[in-house]
């Protein structure tokens, strides 16, 4: 048994890879990679198209199996770590586009419970808070399918923030945004790290837009992961 509270306060806070081998299809993403890196602030995971950035994020969440070694996030293996992690996939959901955006966020707020909710109010308030936090209140009651790419991403971000995570894994949060949209989102993310103390790991090819705000860069290349501060 791992004692969550104790482990959280150990110096192992951050991302630890031990002899990790990770493949996706025929692509080798990581080969015997070992690494320890803090995850405070904003961490950019970079690498060329197809390097395996999305796959690595999914491995941290236990969505794809490792071929060897182990990944610990804040000292916890994926199955336990994911209780403290919020995730936004590369392609924001294209399911149920007719439902209002707010329903998507509400579903994420208490989506881990069995049974029917006794009171609806707390869930509604929490969803409204998250939508306000990501600047999505204005279009929260429109069907998700009618929102623009950037607006949908804000809804996806609100979804990722459900469950009060202390780490966010965001897969390409800047894709599909114009210059102004990117600036807005970068400011929003900076705000989340500063105000709420949430660590953020994001993948992006927009190194320019992120210059100056990221705390460190993790470069994924040739089966290895290298950190630059």
């Amino acid at each position: 048994m791992v004692d969550t509270k104790r482990v959280c306060c150990q110096p192992e806070r951050g991302l630890v890879l031990r002899d990790v081998t990770l493949t996706a299809g025929s692509t080798c993403v990581l080969r015997d990679a070992s690494l320890t890196v803090p995850l405070s602030g904003m961490t950019l995971l970079s690498g060329r198209n197809g390097a395996g950035k999305s796959t690595l994020l999914r491995a941290m969440l236990g969505l794809v199996p490792l071929q060897g070694g182990e990944i610990l996030t804040h000292g916890l293996p994926p199955a336990q770590a994911r209780q403290h992690i919020g995730y936004m996939p590369q392609s924001v959901t294209d399911a149920a586009l007719l439902l209002p955006a707010v329903s998507h966020v509400r579903a994420a707020v208490d989506g881990l419970r069995w049974g029917l909710p006794l009171r609806l109010r707390p869930r509604r308030e929490e969803a409204d808070r998250l939508l306000a936090l990501t600047g999505a209140s204005a279009f929260a009651h429109r069907p998700l399918g009618l929102l623009s790419g950037g607006e949908r991403q804000r809804v996806g971000l609100a979804q990722a923030l459900a469950g009060n995570p202390d780490l966010l894994l965001l897969d390409e949060p800047l894709a599909a945004l114009d210059h102004a949209g990117q600036e807005q989102t970068v400011r929003l993310l900076g705000d989340l790290t500063a105000r709420l103390g949430i660590g953020i790991v994001l993948t992006s090819h927009e190194t320019e837009a992120l210059a100056g705000v990221v705390t460190r860069v993790m470069q994924l290349a040739d089966g290895g992961l290298h950190v630059r501060v």
Partner: protein
């Protein structure tokens, strides 16, 4: 018309089935599994034919067959990134195989065409008390399971990847839901017939979704519409001479068309 036992049974049976169809149908449409609903009720038809051949009540055969199919369809591996990779092919092949079996059962039972007609178009006026009890049992079981599953099912349907990342057992949820859908289809087929069972599941739910309602309002409207369709169908077929499924099928398409018009009108 309520002085007759068979009419009272029909109305109660239609009500039970409508509540079930409206609720399960809403989730089916949300998950874009209309084809599954269609297939499950047809598969139930084969089961019913088999049951009659072996001397069991048709409902039991429908339940057994659609449940088995439901497990096969639900257990379909999620595609690598949450994309249901081959679901439609699986459903199509399961459907083809069981319809083949159904043809064989019909042939063996020696009651070919009359039996087929009853099973395909339903016999809501022939519901007896025992069938009614069975329908109620199925409905309570399904709605109970759905209530238990509800929030995880909703999360997994709206944002499959995010739900899996947070630890929702997507595969388990999907299998249990398909089993519930299979049972619901069998129950619907009892009232509307195998051919039109899914009209009661799909029509009201599609209308509710088309209007862009959230889950609670959407399910409520879907159930209300299903009730309206089946009761309306019963009354109209009492007054006119047309069979109940005719009115249900027509009403389902009509309500969807109206919802579509309403949306267009609103967005002008």
């Amino acid at each position: 018309m309520f002085e007759f036992d068979f009419m009272r049974h029909a109305f109660v049976g239609a009500a039970v089935v409508s509540v079930l169809a409206g609720t399960v149908g809403w989730f089916l449409m949300l998950r874009r599994q209309a084809f599954a609903a269609h297939a499950l009720s047809h598969i139930g038809f084969s089961g019913a034919a088999g049951a009659v051949w072996l001397g069991f009540p048709p409902l039991s055969g429908m339940v057994v067959f659609s449940l088995m199919a439901g497990f096969v369809i639900g257990a379909e591996r999620e595609g690598e990134r949450g994309v249901p990779a081959q679901r439609d092919s699986t459903i199509g092949l399961v459907l083809a195989a069981s319809l083949g079996l159904g043809a064989w059962f019909l042939h063996m039972s020696n009651r070919g065409s009359s039996l087929a007609t009853t099973l395909l178009f339903g016999d809501v006026l022939g519901i007896d008390l025992r069938t009614l009890e069975a329908l109620c049992g199925v409905a309570v079981l399904c709605l109970g399971l759905l209530a238990f599953l509800g929030r995880r099912l909703l999360f997994a349907s709206l944002a499959p990847e995010v739900a899996r990342a947070r630890g929702v057992p997507a595969r388990l949820v999907s299998v249990v839901f398909m089993a519930v859908a299979a049972l619901a289809c069998a129950a619907c087929a009892e009232v509307a017939g195998a051919l039109l069972a899914f009209s009661l599941m799909i029509g009201p739910a599609a209308t509710a979704l088309k209007l862009g309602l959230g889950p609670l309002a959407g399910i409520a409207l879907s159930v209300g519409l299903a009730l309206g369709l089946s009761w309306g169908g019963l009354m109209l077929s009492w007054v006119t001479d047309a069979p109940v499924p005719f009115w249900i099928g027509l009403g389902a398409a009509l309500s969807y068309a109206l919802a579509d018009l309403w949306r267009r009108f609103r967005s002008l």
